[in-house]
Point group: D2
Chain length 342, copies 4
């Protein structure tokens, strides 16, 4: 199997995890590591001695022997770096959120397509054992029709100075929802509030509507005393609780539901129909999950997609869908919760 | 101390609890119990032999020796029964939600005022040890400025055929919020969805905005696989988690927060200021709570307010405020989440 | 179906629950309620108007029309009351612990047998949905061979003035163990300590040994800051955690285990064998449990056994087995933890 | 401040953590890393390039410039390696359990004393923020008199081929108990069972008795479906629950207790005294804990003790006390739970 030569630009918070996973993947060779911060670069290079290091990303892009570039820099730079990398003929894996606006995401997606290159967005959560198991269960039809998706991701969080809580946390839940629900929302509303720094929302609620009665709702919060990462996915037959704080029992499938049937009311002379609602409560099932580090699957999916010349699971189009939702959420917040058609 | 003669109309789900508490309160004498359902009436009368029973509420209201009437009937009847009771010169304690529309609530409140009668709404949660302790902490200023109030009240709930999940569950959280926050929201948005029966929302999200950056958000749900009753109350200095599922440790006070300070950036030649955000994490305190049944406090407050000729804690005005919010929430849901000015 | 006439002696802590369940069972008629305390008697008689009341238990026993007697008095009286009831030809259901010593329990068991009467001990926990489900799972062989049974039952408990923590709490866990394990232990050790009142142990550890490597261990404690009621039942193939504090998900079945296999060590010239231990972790299953009140099943089992002339599930012999263990535990504690052969 | 030159022997499971902490401590210089396994050695040396590496521990001991040696090898080698290191004039930090028998531990302790060298045992848990906070609370007298210490450390654990569950897990809890209780037990009983491999206990219960009514009890288990690490420390005034699984709120202090007072029974003509037991339940306090890695404190304590020529907190004597308890536990298990006087 051919070995892909990979360069990583950005050694901040997430970069070292990407570097480690590509370094440990047998079908890749980590050829370059790049960061403008010399200390970071040195720390990383000490741990992964095989890589060339540079503080100039152009040097990485210019290396003609390189197959692929991984971009883990602040979001404001994603567009420019990805564009240059694609134009230099490199496959690209870029951190989430993909870009700062959908126009850029569209342009990059088209560019990759035109050049026949793989463009993948690192929506890491999609590759966790928990989310993949949920997808499998939903796909199997076991839940019945999806009724709602309710996600809470709150903690006393790291304040970002460049992005608000929506751009920071929502890519996780929106990409999970996009993957699991598999349908496109038709409208969005969002509200938020800035309690610490003006212009940077630290709490936000986002709601998506679908063509039918399906709802998706999200609570993002950097200012919560407790850490909660819980998603409810209710189907007409069964329901899932996905609690990412749980060390191993993250996914619980409840054989619970409500059924409504319309019956003729025998006590009613006018022969009206009344609705009878019956409850069903059965076993709970906690499936065993693949505990492989999600980022290992990210690296493998990227390398496989390159090799097999196919779209990766979280391709540019999926990144674009998430950016469109982020953009719409920001617009709705700015307009005081106005409904945004998608 | 004078003994109040009390009649209770309605022996359904909640009525027997009211009956028991008035029967066991020494300053009250339970004189009448009324229900249209003969079986219920018999069950109750067997347990509380002192009461006269009747299936005609007019008989209760007509008893000139009676001081006060407790109304625990379906919400659609609250207005009529309360009005007649007030007009007959009785003090009234009425179940939540107070009425089906704010116009009725206003009329009843004015009527009680004009007649010099006590009109109280049974917002039971306001009288729990947990909520009173939270109120005490918030009043003391320990939390600093309130930033947000986030409440989740979900379970696989009893479907009501006459009211939706908002009218069923929201009176609890809205009355708690009204009591603890002590300020009036200026606008509201709400959305919901009907998954079981058309026209009866079984899931709803309600959001309140205040004049400043304070937010209140509520998730109500009859179709959740898990039972959650959790409220986050974040202040600028401390934060509270109120978990009503916990058997005893319902209130936790977190000495946690974030402080932003603006400092001159010494590395910046243009002498710009940057925001430094610092985190604070200290002890957690779980205060002991009064474990008296809340309804006992409700009965006492009603009787004391009559005797002391003063407004009770949850008077008609407080019931009216909650009904206005319920009404606005319904309007917003019906209009697809439109912002309703309050 | 014939209706059994039942009398209940003892209206203290547990008596009213027995009274309520027999009163609500259609195949029984509650004919007598007896207690030396007039207040208790009045309270009970007001709730259950059909019963005759008396403060003299002999009056109950003397009623020739009575089929069965339920004894819910302090343990010191069990022997005498049960004996007189059996001698008067009544079937008897007696509270746990059965008697204060095994000699009495043996005598009563023989007496009942001789007279052809049903003698049943109210080991309520054996009739819970949780314990019956566990029994079903163990019986099915799903767990493999039982390896150990570890039970913790601790809280800030009600101090008893007549019995210690072993006689108070151990009957629960010992009867559960007796029912689920279905084998007899061969030896016992126990230790305890008296921190509050001399001579009354408030903490105790009891351990049972079986003929093979199976162990059972119990921790009983009236002086714990937290309430824990958890039992681990490990089998060679699967394991169960039974957490009685959980509102609904009390039983969890873990598809977990360890397997040892002996393999020839290829790196070892002397061809020694080494043990390879492999771990297995699979799904967790939380079975739905029957939520009928256990005491209802107790009443039904007692009445059915009388009618069908068969031994009830927790017959005198089972009560005797538990008393023997309690007695041995007390002896071991008194002798500083000495091993007692059973 | 002088920089200590340190060599580490053993790069297995725990060694790399020690290496990392000494490497990152400014007052130490990591001079040697040693392991018989070449792969491990290479992995470690790549991460910590400053160290000399060797597969022969004698080379480390022979380095005359070295001040101190850290021994993280299998327990069977501790005695020999520590002895040689001390004889070569090195200060020694040795992994727990200190030695395989108390005779060796005594000899090493005496040797270190004679040579004026620091001998410290790595009882890491003693250095955690949780245990140090508990010690502080107990020392302050806030708990009152200690009544019992109950510890459960169970999970589906790594089977060791050379030692049983007692030698593997008990050093943690025994060293914590030794540190917090600060008194010496007078007797011990222990029982265990071998379910996987003959001769290697995978479950064990150990109990310590003190001169008064104080008890300490321990449950160690490699074959539990759930991971529990919980210690109850009950005092006559307050009680602590230390739950090491909790990510941050590991220590909870309960203002709970029971008080017994003897009062003259006024209703009793013979003027007997009766015991009145009263319960007290107050707030719960969850103190903030130092979250520094415990091993960093271990490294610092070792280096400080060398520099200040004083005994470290967990000196050879403390290691010896733990080994004596392990030895006694093994003896008691081997003799079927016999009481061992200490």
């Amino acid at each position: 199997m051919s070995i892909m030569k990979v360069g990583v630009i950005g050694c901040g918070y997430w970069g070292p995890n990407l570097i480690r996973n590509f370094a440990e993947t047998e079908t890749a060779r980590l050829a370059w590591v790049c960061d403008v911060d010399g200390n970071r670069l040195e720390t990383v290079s000490r741990r992964f001695p095989v890589a060339n290091t540079t503080s100039d990303y152009r040097q990485v892009i210019a290396d003609r022997s390189l197959d692929a570039i991984v971009i883990a820099t602040p979001v404001a730079t994603h567009y420019e770096f990805t564009k240059q990398a694609l134009e230099a003929g490199k496959h690209v894996l870029v951190e989430k959120p993909f870009t700062t606006c959908s126009r850029q995401a569209e342009e990059l997606t088209r560019l990759a397509e035109r050049r026949g290159l793989i463009l993948m967005v690192d929506h890491t959560f999609v590759y966790t054992g928990a989310v993949r198991k949920i997808k499998e269960i939903v796909e199997s039809g076991e839940l019945g029709d999806l009724l709602y998706f309710d996600s809470v991701r709150i903690n006393l969080g790291l304040f970002q100075s460049d992005i608000n809580v929506v751009w920071d946390l929502a890519p996780h839940d929106l990409s999970i929802m996009d993957y699991i629900v598999g349908r496109r929302p038709v409208a969005l509303t969002a509200t938020g509030s800035c309690h610490i720094e003006e212009g940077i929302e630290n709490i936000a609620y986002v709601q998506l509507r679908f063509a039918d009665s399906m709802l998706a709702h999200f609570h993002f919060n950097w200012l919560s005393p407790v850490k909660i990462r819980r998603t409810l996915i209710a189907g007409s037959r069964k329901m899932i609780v996905y609690d990412d704080i749980e060390p191993t029992e993250k996914v619980r499938v409840y054989d619970k539901g409500v059924t409504a049937s319309r019956e003729r009311d025998s006590t009613d002379k006018e022969a009206k129909y009344q609705t009878l609602v019956s409850y069903r409560t059965g076993d709970v099932w906690v499936p065993k999950l693949d505990s492989t580090e999600a980022l290992r699957h990210v690296a493998t999916e990227f390398l496989d997609a390159i090799r097999e010349k196919r779209q990766p699971l979280t391709d540019g189009a999926s990144g674009l869908r998430v950016v469109r939702l982020l953009e719409a959420a920001q617009k709705s917040i700015d307009r005081g919760g106005q409904l945004i058609e998608l």
